[in-house]
């Protein structure tokens, strides 16, 4: 009797999950805003060469430090490079880093989280290691890793994946700890299902909603962190136009050429806002338990 009730409750839960996928965009104006902004950013990244007729790397000292004009919408930098085209191409770096970090943290985080949540004997060891890794403030750890690895896009991705992975692992673990006690998981085990089958069929699907929410925020953190690292000169190498790099050189000309730092900053702000709005909307719809975490 009790089992039946619980099962029905769970079924309802699962159904509400499916419905809420649509509900996200129906009821959440902010989530739609976020999705549209993000789509625009993605569009910019893909069609970057078609959106500007200037080359982001082309130097022309005759037009250095010129203010915004019709031919150079965002002005030019200290080498006469077109800031608009640099910002446009910078979108690629930011989205590449954000997307790759999102992918890697999800992949490793899910594996470690499931291992820790499912196997008690691994839980303690893995979670103490995660605690240890999370004892480092993220940016400081990222800087230290970049100091060792050296500046490159791939190394930024590696460093940021490393520092954000423990968060995902923890969240997945907490989901697994709840789900593995569910009656249907125990029923599956009683029927003789193997660990791998239980994990893939019963546990993994429950991890998806919190994972999507978490990944959206990790995407936003990574965009900000990549910009910060590049701004500090330890992220993406200076010859690649990235938003952080553009602001970093703009900083030296803050008096003469404020446009060099204003526009790439706005691009970061817009992208992160899009991701945060989307993440908030997704969280409200997919994972009501997480709402109060902010």
């Amino acid at each position: 009797m009790e089992i039946a009730v619980e099962e029905r409750e769970h079924l309802e839960e699962e159904m509400s999950l499916k419905v809420s996928w649509l509900e996200v965009f129906k009821h959440k104006g902010t989530a739609i805003c976020g999705a549209i902004l993000l789509f625009l950013t993605l569009f910019t990244a893909i069609f970057a060469p078609h959106l500007t007729h200037h080359k982001p790397l082309r130097l022309d000292v005759n037009i250095r430090l010129q203010g915004p004009s019709a031919s150079h919408l965002f002005g030019t930098d200290e080498f006469g490079r077109d800031v608009f085209s640099r910002v446009i191409f910078g979108t690629r770096v930011s989205l590449l880093v954000g997307g790759a970090v999102m992918l890697f943290t999800s992949l490793i985080g899910v594996i470690l989280g499931i291992l820790a949540g499912y196997y008690d004997y691994l839980d303690n060891v893995l979670m103490r290691i995660m605690d240890g890794l999370m004892a480092f403030p993220a940016m400081v750890m990222a800087i230290a890793l970049m100091a060792v690895l050296g500046p490159s896009v791939l190394n930024v991705i590696i460093a940021l994946s490393f520092i954000y992975m423990p968060r995902t692992a923890r969240i997945i673990r907490s989901v697994v700890l709840v789900v593995r006690e569910m009656v249907y998981v125990q029923a599956a085990r009683a029927l003789g299902a193997r660990d791998l089958r239980i994990t893939l069929k019963h546990i993994l699907p429950n991890c998806v909603p919190p994972l999507i929410v978490q990944s959206t925020f990790i995407f936003a953190y990574s965009v900000l962190a990549e910009a910060s690292l590049s701004f500090l000169g330890v992220g993406v190498p200076p010859y690649i136009p990235s938003w952080g790099n553009i602001i970093s050189s703009g900083r030296l000309f803050i008096r003469e050429a404020p446009w060099m730092s204003i526009f790439p900053g706005l691009a970061i702000l817009m992208t992160c806002m899009a991701l945060n709005l989307l993440g908030d909307g997704l969280r409200d719809a997919l994972d009501p338990r997480m709402r109060e975490i902010g």
């Binding site: 605690d131 004892a135 403030p137 993220a138 230290a144």
Partner: protein, 314 residues
Amino acid sequence: MLGYLIRRVIALIPVMFIVATVVFFLVHLIPGDPASVLLGPNATPSDVMKLRAQMGLDKPIYSQFLIWLSRTFQGNLGESIFLGRPVTRAVFERAEPTLVMLTLSLIVAIVIGIPAGILSAVKPNSWLDKTLMIFAILGVSIPTFWLGLNFIEVFSVLLNWLPAAGYSPLSSGLWKNLSYMILPSLSLGFNQSALIARICRSSMLEVMEQDYIRTARSKGLAERLVILKHALRNVLIPTVTVIGTSFAVLIGGAVVTEIVFNIPGIGLLIISSVLRRDYPVIQGCVLFIAAAYVLINLIVDILYVYIDPRVKYV
């Protein structure tokens, strides 16, 4: 309480051990031989051998690790390669500006964040709530270093109110110190005030639904007293947790902010050490910061007991 405290401190041992391990192996991640990387391409083989011996790199890795570990727990973090002095001294010399900035920005974050969160929760979905929450979304999306640059642009370049960069030690007078610290602390703290405001708002909304709030209202208590005396204390519990995690973000942000405002703190020390490949200093700074962060979280856990008497640690 004392028993809880002891248990919490004991629980820190494995965490600090892992922290130390990670910091140790950080240098061993350098591709190739750290000694020759440190000395650059022009070093003679005998120089490299000397540095290898000095760094203990000629010993097997487990004994290197044990030596490093015992030395570190005695407070000896080695010598800086460039500064010609012990790492601990270099770190402590640079600690003041960073600590002042962190404290001030934490104050900024709390002073803006908590009232903003409460105000917007008192009348949910009002124009005030919506405006404040738009600011909160802006706050978590804005890069701190860019905000700092804009502050310099407006308050130093255009208005000429505050110095654009630099630092004046506390010993040279509080006001002078503050004049250098206002812009950095505002740009660093704003971001976290947004986070605190959001947590504060959502936990306030939750608390206002509780039975004891209804009771307080129905016995005729003024709304102001209901909020300040009955709700606020309960709102503070999740808020204090966030302030703990906020601190980690603030430390990371401090590094970037110190570069923007050219403040000679630990952040500037880390970055200049990264560019000079002064690995002992990087290791020392990272270890110092991680230890400080772990300590802050311990303090936050202890604060719980005072804010929330229901929390009994068994």
